[in-house]
Amino acid sequence: MEILFFYLVALVALASGFLVIRCQSPVNSALALVNTFFCLAVFYVMLNAPFMAAVQIMVYAGAIMVLILFVIMLLNLGIEARQRYMRGIVWSSLGSLLMFLVALFIIKRGRVTGATGDITEYTIQNFGHTELIGMTMFTEFLLPFEIAGILLLVAVVGALVLAKRDV
């Protein structure tokens, strides 16, 4: 049952991913991308990571996609005028195919050894995923967290400076 559900979600995710790269209109691509993000959020839930699923929906499907859609509409972009040259398509296909094969090879051949950490399913059920994330984040990864905050601040300032008409 679960595996069937997985395949269904995976199919939807891949199909919408395909739409992202094939749609002529950027708005359609964006909507397909939102769909992909939802599917990934479902995967996160299935992986016992509900907090990450929530963040995925809020940050990606919410904030970033809204930003992208805004920009698309702001720039009033039509559909792409013409296709790429065939040669570009061929080389790009080859490149991405090779990338995929390499990744697949690693996955099939890689030795992902069994359980090493102490965050078992049981812990998550009893303790709560959000609490665990918070504990790790604010103890072990406190400094990177602060730096990420500064990065976001810098990004905000940079975006403002770039987008403003007259500085």
Partner: protein, 100 residues
């Protein structure tokens, strides 16, 4: 039972799709979305491995990837607006200023 390999295979396919999009699309915003797709596929790998290895570190990493993606979105889109303002296009074939 769904193994870690299932998730990782899906992630690999998504990653390859994103790569293809980045390499072939001409609209800068679509390319940007393809990059987001690639980032998400990596996120999926991280989380699946994190669960598989029963460690929290992978998920923390995803968190940082997301913040970087957000920052990137803000700056990247601002750059596109600025560029569009100057050149009236965001077609990457028209953007060849890297050539001297």
């Amino acid at each position: 039972m769904i193994g870690v390999y299932h998730y990782m295979t899906v992630a690999a396919i998504l990653f390859a799709m994103g790569t293809y999009g980045v390499l072939t699309r001409r609209n800068a915003i679509v390319i940007f979305m393809c990059v987001e797709l690639m980032l998400n596929s990596v996120n999926l790998t991280f989380i699946s491995l994190s669960r598989h290895l029963q460690s929290m570190d992978g998920q923390i990493f995803v968190f940082f990837v997301m913040s970087v993606a957000a920052a990137e979105a803000a700056v990247g889109l601002a750059l596109m607006i600025t560029f569009f303002r100057n050149r009236e296009t965001i077609d990457v074939d028209q953007i060849n200023m890297l050539k001297l």
